[in-house]
């Protein structure tokens, strides 16, 4: 599923979407970047509350095309700049990580 279609289906707010056609095949939910680093599969959307630039660095290194920021966490300007540069989408929602995770899993046909 493309990042764009995922964002539309979830009806989450798009903060940055430099590469709408990037393909999402999986998801990973965590707020610990080391945990993400060690375990997240490539092509995953990262579901997290970590709204800062280092999340973009991790997503970029792992080839994760999108980040969903839960609980209405904001993305600082430097994070959005970095996301734009690295071609990573940022979506924002009031959903919790749990809700976002099962909705994403459902859309990706992983339930």
């Amino acid at each position: 599923m493309t990042v764009q279609n995922l964002g539309k289906a979830l009806e989450y707010k798009t903060l940055v979407m430099p590469n709408p056609d990037a393909d999402i095949i999986n998801g990973y939910t965590s707020d610990l970047l080391s945990d993400v680093m060690g375990n997240a599969p490539e092509g995953s959307v990262l579901i997290t509350i970590q709204g800062h630039k280092n999340s973009i660095a991790v997503a970029s290194l792992l080839g994760m095309p999108a980040i969903i920021l839960c609980n209405n966490r904001s993305a600082p300007d430097d994070m959005q700049l970095a996301a734009q540069k690295e071609g990573i989408a940022i979506l924002s929602t009031g959903d919790t990580q749990f809700t976002a995770s099962y909705r994403v899993a459902h859309l990706l046909g992983r339930v």
């Binding site: 610990l32 970047l33 080391s34 680093m37 280092n54 660095a57 970029s60 080839g63 300007d77």
Partner: protein
């Protein structure tokens, strides 16, 4: 939307990051010369002259009530009320900055309003400083100089040759420099990609280098990441200048961390860094003393990968990569 008098779409990101990263409190003058309500315009005039300043805030117990500017003083001299109390003639309609705002705000305020200085308030609405354009330009010059130094240092160590063989990249990593964290690992990843390494190798090297880089940023007094691209393997060495790991065995356990709350709030300090590095390495070693810690992680290229790297046009590479992954 705030306006900054430079193009924010394709300016060098290092400058943009600077004006977003620096806060008003980083550039403001903290040594305040102020008066209270009972002071006279004459007293303010003397204060201005003896301190070479052009604006004096009027405060009551840290609350900002107004500002007397050079212009107010000139008016007072012109119209003969220089002996009056400041209360009558100070400027009350003030535009203020908060100390936590990015400097980009201050820059756009100076661009938008005619004022030469802005008072700075903290969250408790107390006056904590003043900002002038001079404060901003001085600090920006200092920071830009610092950034350019960093860039020059990185350029020296990342000058590229053709192919991967026997190339060495060295990256200096500063303590608590979360802003540039990830630079070394991104460069190493790029290099491996250019060299046609397999995605799985690139991912392992990215994990090892990122964790080691973050360890230097989070825990050490500063150090460096050295990446050696050999024909058989990539070796990533992290060395720092202390303070060392008191219990290396414990540090290798998953979930053990000495990181503080602030670092944890940034998503680090999960106690998985070193275990992550070890799990992606074919060879791994760590030595630590108060003088510093050295971690060496080596990742071997697969046989098919080596031929792919020397001849990237071999067929069926995608399938080989899939089998390996």
């Amino acid at each position: 939307m705030q306006t900054i008098p430079i193009n924010t779409y394709n300016s060098p990101t290092v400058i943009l990051e600077l004006i977003y990263r620096l806060k008003v409190k980083d550039v403001m003058t903290r040594s305040l010369i102020s008066v209270n309500l009972g002071a006279t315009m004459r007293q303010v005039q003397h204060l201005m002259r003896s301190n070479s300043i052009t604006g004096v805030p009027v405060v009551m117990q840290k609350r900002l009530l107004g500002i007397v500017s050079m212009d107010d003083i000139i008016q007072a001299l012109d119209n003969g009320y220089i002996e009056d109390d400041v209360e009558k003639h100070m400027t009350r309609n003030l535009i203020v900055l908060e100390d936590d705002m990015p400097v980009s705000f201050a820059i756009s305020y100076f661009d938008r309003y005619r004022y030469h200085r802005f008072p700075v308030l903290n969250k408790e609405k107390e006056l904590v400083g003043m900002v002038t354009t001079r404060d901003i330009s001085t600090r920006l010059l200092w920071e830009i100089n610092h950034e350019i130094e960093n860039i020059e240092r990185m350029n020296q160590s990342t000058r590229t040759k053709n192919g991967l063989s026997n190339e060495v990249q060295t990256f200096s990593i500063l303590k608590h420099d979360f802003e540039n964290a990830g630079f070394a690992s991104t460069e190493i990843k790029k290099k491996l990609k250019q060299g046609n390494a397999f995605p799985r190798t690139i991912r392992r090297a990215a994990i090892a280098s990122y964790e080691l880089e973050m360890n230097i940023v989070v825990h050490s007094n500063g150090g460096e990441i050295i990446a050696e691209f050999g024909p058989e393997s990539i070796t990533i060495t992290s060395q720092d200048s202390g303070p060392g790991i008191p219990d290396v065995e414990k540090a290798m356990e998953q979930g053990y961390s000495t990181a503080n709350e602030w670092i944890r709030s940034l998503g680090f300090g999960a106690g998985m860094g070193l275990p992550n590095v070890k799990s992606v390495s074919d060879e791994f070693s760590i030595t630590s003393s108060p003088a510093g810690t050295i971690v060496v992680s080596t990742i071997y290229f697969a046989d098919q990968e080596k031929s792919h790297m020397t001849n990237p046009h071999l067929p069926d590479v995608q399938n080989v990569a899939k089998e390996l992954a």
